[in-house]
């Protein structure tokens, strides 16, 4: 059994990590951290966990926590984990960081997209970008993992085969639709039911923070600098992300070519599904079809008129977009079967 701690355990990602880790047969959750809920039962904050755990939130020092466990999940806001990582590293513990602090290899991207300078840039290289489908071997030998962003993941999964095949010459337009849980459990004016209901809120027409991470990963795959133009909207759902990306492609391309490209790229990747159907109600990926699961559903469409490929991704932001993906990386890192604790068929209908 591996002993784990979740810091930021009272947040949405903390709660989802606890849900998955408490069901994992090789994991013992020893510690759930929260400053504001210190002393409360975990199920008082995450009522879905009632009957599954009698853990109580604590607010111990990070070195005390590290002395009790083998692996620490950091589920705190961006900018915060860089303060926690150096003392944990000194203890020899493993870390999976759910935030952005160690995702970007080019440190000049941090002031540009996040508005702060990195406090320990030398440590970034010690982290592996935790996309298990793209960085499997590196994750297997890693001690420190930077878990990807949710919109980034959906975009990267749907575009990776095209990047690898050399299709991404021009900037890629990505349209992302995201549910409310993607922005955490903090309350804002927009949390108000009257404000949110029936609204499609264009909260980031440009300048979304996941842009550099998508570019970083697609550039590695394509072997050249790949630029993306990302627009993000909040839509009235709780979980889920749908990304539709337009890739300009001037040559004729057959549907079968793309099918084979995607099939080959994701061969034996059990959490990737090619979700297209010529008939019926669900013809393309839809977040509704992945709820509660670690699947990334992918699809595409060819538009001969405007000479583009539309590449589609759908994930549950809290699972494949965060906690499930982190557990998958943990499994690889610790040499557990990759899918252990994650084999859950999506809930339907939701």
């Amino acid at each position: 059994m591996i002993k784990v701690a979740v810091i930021g355990g009272s947040g949405y990602i903390g709660g989802e990590l606890l849900r998955l880790l408490l069901q994992h047969p090789q994991v013992s959750v020893e510690y759930a951290g929260s400053r504001t809920s210190n002393g409360k039962f975990v199920y008082k904050v995450h009522p879905n966990l009632k009957g599954s755990t009698s853990l109580i939130f604590k607010n111990d020092s990070i070195t005390d926590v590290a002395s009790k466990v083998d692996l620490i999940f950091l589920a705190v806001p961006h900018g915060k984990s860089q303060e926690l990582v150096p003392p944990i590293m000194d203890t020899g513990n493993r870390i999976i960081d759910m935030g952005a602090d160690f995702r970007l290899k080019n440190i000049s991207e941090y002031p540009r997209w996040y508005g702060w300078d990195h406090c320990c840039p030398d440590l970034i290289q010690k982290f592996v970008y935790g996309n298990p489908e793209l960085h499997r071997d590196e994750i297997r030998s890693a001690k420190f993992i930077a878990n990807p962003g949710c919109i980034a993941s959906s975009s990267i999964y749907s575009l990776a085969p095209l990047a690898k095949a050399g299709f991404l010459d021009l900037p890629i337009n990505i349209d992302a639709k995201t549910g409310s849980s993607a922005s955490g459990n903090d309350v804002s004016d927009f949390s108000n039911y009257s404000a949110k209901t029936n609204s499609v809120r264009l909260y980031k027409p440009s300048g979304h923070r996941h842009t550099p991470e998508i570019e970083q990963e697609l550039s590695i795959l394509s072997g050249r600098r790949t630029k993306v133009a990302l627009t993000a909207q909040s839509v009235p759902m709780v979980r889920g992300i749908l990304t539709t990306s337009s890739v300009v492609h001037e040559m004729d391309i057959e549907e079968k070519t793309l099918w084979n490209l995607f099939r080959d790229f994701y061969k034996e990747k059990r959490f990737i599904r090619l979700m297209m159907d010529k008939n019926g109600l669900y013809r393309y990926p839809d977040p509704k079809l992945v709820t509660g699961s670690n699947f990334a559903d992918l699809g595409f469409n060819i538009d001969p008129y405007s000479q583009r490929i539309i590449s589609i991704g759908a994930i549950d932001n809290l699972v494949k977009g965060a906690a499930g993906n982190a557990v998958q990386s943990m499994n690889l890192m610790l040499d557990f079967p990759e899918e252990i604790g994650l084999i859950s068929i999506p809930i339907f209908p939701v």
Binding site: W259, L274, M276, N279
Partner: protein, 66 residues
């Protein structure tokens, strides 16, 4: 009780996506089968001495009328 069909006796390649179309062992002419991957439906247009002829069946495209 519904009779269980013996499927998987034959798999043919889908013309559109290159995936597999599973054909029940006891398939009959004019039956509809579909591709496991892309869902395209095919009509069995002929069964001659174990050789099957398939033609893509019409699919209803989504039309929201805009």
């Amino acid at each position: 009780m519904a009779k269980e069909r013996k499927i998987g006796e034959k798999k043919l390649e889908c013309q559109i996506c290159g995936g597999k179309v599973t054909i029940p062992a006891d398939v009959m002419e004019s039956e509809i089968v579909s591709c496991d991957d892309c869902g395209l439906e095919y009509e069995i247009s002929g069964v001659n001495n174990g050789t099957l002829q398939l033609k893509p069946a019409d699919s209803i495209k989504e039309d929201w009328g805009e």
